[in-house]
């Protein structure tokens, strides 16, 4: 429908300009009639609005290192970029085809190892430019998809999920059995500065590496977006929604899933290849369960129902991981808590929250929910503090750390019952206030949405 909507760029809520993942226009956004779509000219791949978005994105990616040029910020940018490709490739399965994979790291890792070994082979001969090496990773990921996709795509649902988990474990344990290929515990390392420098670019400096990653990321994003606008991309949505019906319009759901999986493996492999070049090191962890879990989290938190959801997720999770891990040992716990909260209260992910608010914005009604938001802000903050307080006390207590826990410069005795009671009290107060005030938010939304629906119906 995106392609169709492109022909009618100017109407309101119905036409989301964002690249969406297939056809997930929710019932919240009924379309307008088909008048505009009767246009006979074939709409261009990127109509003006979308062209603008992609252009802005390209400029942003070019300009970012001008601001974030410090070592740390720059390597964060590199990592985010790589994860954007990886998360988008994951969503080709989950969001677009309805395949819940617990083993997507297999393709990322395969790509990373293949790239690293090729790099090390090239070290002696240098026949392929380093900038093209991620393609080797892509091909390795693709081969992985050909191999493992064949055994796993016959069924979707639980069967697929279980098989993906099994394959993930299988490959991860195999990686430890063949230290010659996977480097055992220490992994495989290499040096990306090989061969003659073309135009003085060696990819030695991180900034050069960043631009290489950014270029690949941009191309992959565009390619994956374009894929959602093809017959295969749309049939993937159809197979996700109703595999049985897809059969009765001539499609073999298994082939649709299989091809999608091969292509997703390809893009995951490119991401893996970039990561190999970026870190000049690949360990078995790259293709293990942790990596598979993180990419699932990124896609889900960002929003699997929208093309751009996983991009948000990749940025957010990468930054959170670094920011939170920097200040507390309990970061994994917070991660789990955050994920849980999202699954429970915003299963559509950040992207769907944005889309909901954008609908209000388009209708000029966004301010109507703001008072309710202001009301719950304080209860949210109190709850937040209560949770953090409790978690930190518990962590310090469990670890028996000698140095005292410091919050706002004040020493806190994690052994005293008073401290625990205090934290519990804060949490309880926060939760009670939240329970009391949240209905205002629901009510505000209900009223505003009823208003918008009424207007649309009229």
């Amino acid at each position: 429908m995106n392609d169709v909507r492109r022909a009618a760029p100017k109407d309101g809520a119905a036409n989301s300009p964002e690249p969406r993942c297939g056809e997930q226009a929710s019932p919240l956004s009924p379309g307008k009639g088909m008048g505009d779509r009767q246009m006979h000219a074939v709409p261009p791949l990127l109509h003006r609005r979308r062209l603008f978005l992609w252009g802005a994105l390209a400029l942003l990616m070019i300009a970012l290192p001008l601001v974030f040029n410090k070592g740390f910020a720059l390597s964060l940018l590199c990592q985010i970029s790589i994860m954007v490709i990886f998360a988008l490739s994951y969503n080709m399965l989950l969001g677009q085809t309805g395949l819940l994979s617990f083993g997507h790291a297999v393709y990322f890792g395969t790509g990373a190892f293949a790239t690293m070994h090729t790099l090390n082979l090239l070290g002696k001969t240098a026949t392929l430019p380093v900038s093209m090496l991620p393609l080797v990773g892509g091909l390795a990921g693709l081969l992985g998809g050909v191999l493992f996709g064949y055994v796993s795509t016959k069924r979707a649902g639980t069967t697929f999920a279980m098989i993906s988990l099994g394959i993930g474990e299988l490959v991860a344990s195999a990686s430890l059995m063949f230290p010659a290929v996977f480097g055992g515990e220490g992994g495989v390392s290499g040096n990306r500065v090989i061969g003659k420098a073309a135009f003085g670019i060696t990819f030695g400096p991180q900034i050069e590496m960043y631009y290489l990653i950014a270029a690949w990321t941009f191309v992959c994003m565009l390619a994956m977006y374009a894929l959602t606008q093809t017959p295969l991309g749309r049939m993937a949505n159809a197979v996700r929604d109703n595999p049985e019906r897809a059969q009765f319009v001539g499609y073999d759901p298994r082939w649709v899933r299989y091809i999608m999986m091969i292509l997703a493996g390809f893009f995951a492999g490119i991401a893996g290849g970039l990561s190999a070049l970026n870190y000049e090191m690949v360990t078995a962890e790259t293709l293990g369960a942790w990596t598979s879990g993180v990419v699932l989290m990124m896609a889900f938190v960002g929003g699997i129902g929208f093309f751009y959801g996983p991009i948000i997720g990749a940025m957010l999770i990468s930054m959170l991981a670094i920011a939170v891990a920097g200040v507390t040992k309990a970061w994994l716990f917070y991660f789990g808590l955050f994920f849980l909260t999202m699954v429970l209260y915003a299963p559509g992910g950040i992207a769907s929250l944005l889309a909901m608010h954008k609908r209000l914005w388009n209708a000029g009604q966004l301010t109507k929910v703001m008072p309710a938001y202001a009301l719950v802000a304080l209860p949210l903050l109190i709850t937040f503090c209560g949770v953090i307080g409790l978690v930190e006390i518990a962590y310090h207590h469990a670890e028996g750390v000698d140095e005292p826990l410091q919050i706002f410069g004040a020493d806190i005795d994690v052994m005293s019952a008073a401290t625990w009671l205090m934290a519990l009290l804060v949490l309880a107060v926060g939760l009670i206030l939240l329970k009391l005030t949240w209905p205002r938010v629901s009510e505000a939304w209900r009223r505003v949405l009823a208003g918008i629906d009424g207007k649309e119906a009229a």
């Binding site: 606008q229 093809t230 017959p231």
Partner: protein, 255 residues
């Protein structure tokens, strides 16, 4: 043109010990509109599931335009020109009406698993989808998500998806079930229009629809076809009257 469009020979189907279809023979010539009637639970839907390969047969043969399709998969049979609708609406609920119909024309137009062509640039697919949507009277709804259509609209879409690919053997399972009188009238007109020149086999409960549309009728009772013939023959058939038509028939056609 004397090969039957669809032929079933000695088709049997049992679920475990229960025999549901018990040696059905049926031959539908090309271009015929054939109705299958029978009491609830007679096995009419099951017969459609067998003909369209949703279920495998326990024994017997199924021939589409003379070729055996007995052991094929649903998508393979569909590619050979047999398309079917479902008694319980079976559509892509999260896709728009337009996308539902466009998905149904893609294979027929040979786009297969293409990931190198843009949907928006496929003029023939888009035009055919629009034409079908206009035909089923959902033009004003084409950007609506199929899941929120009214019941009658979903039934129309179900027919649209079934005929969109241009299959020449169409199986419709109770297309008018649950519709009001006027909706039924519209549906009959629609079915007549979209199956022009094609072979139609339909399961239908509404006798006025059956006698209105069908060239020939088969009566299925307890998994067996007890009679096949023109509407007049079926109306006059003793066994049919006793076994099935009885009251319904008398009420609707003898007063």
């Amino acid at each position: 043109m004397n090969v039957p469009a669809l032929q079933l020979t000695e088709v049997r189907k049992s679920f475990g010990q229960t025999v549901i279809i018990n040696g059905v023979n049926l031959s539908v010539p090309q271009g015929e509109r054939h109705a299958i009637i029978g009491p609830n639970g007679a096995g009419k839907s099951t017969l459609f599931h067998l003909a369209s390969a949703r279920f495998p047969v326990t024994s017997g043969g199924i021939f589409l335009k003379g070729e055996s399709v007995t052991s094929l998969k649903p998508h393979q049979i569909n590619r050979r020109g047999l398309s079917r609708s479902f008694q319980v609406t079976n559509i892509f609920t999260n896709l728009t009406v337009f996308e539902n119909v466009r998905c149904s024309v893609l294979w027929a137009l040979d786009y297969r698993y293409s990931f190198w062509q843009r949907l928006a640039a496929l003029r023939d697919a888009n035009q055919q989808a629009r034409r079908v949507i206009a035909e089923i009277g959902l033009a004003h709804r084409s950007d609506t998500v199929a899941g929120i259509l009214s019941y009658a609209e979903q039934r129309a879409l179900e027919i649209g998806i079934t005929i969109a690919g241009g299959a020449d053997v169409i199986l419709l399972d109770e297309p008018t079930a649950g519709m009001s009188k006027s909706e039924t009238g519209d549906a009959v007109a629609l079915i007549r229009r979209v199956t022009e020149g094609k072979t139609l086999i339909m399961v239908e409960h509404d006798m006025s629809v059956v006698f209105d549309l069908a060239d020939r009728i088969s009566v299925l009772v307890y998994g067996e076809i007890i009679a096949t013939g023109t509407p007049a023959e079926i109306r006059a058939n003793r066994t049919v009257q006793e076994a099935y038509l009885g009251t319904t028939f008398a009420e609707e056609h003898h007063d």
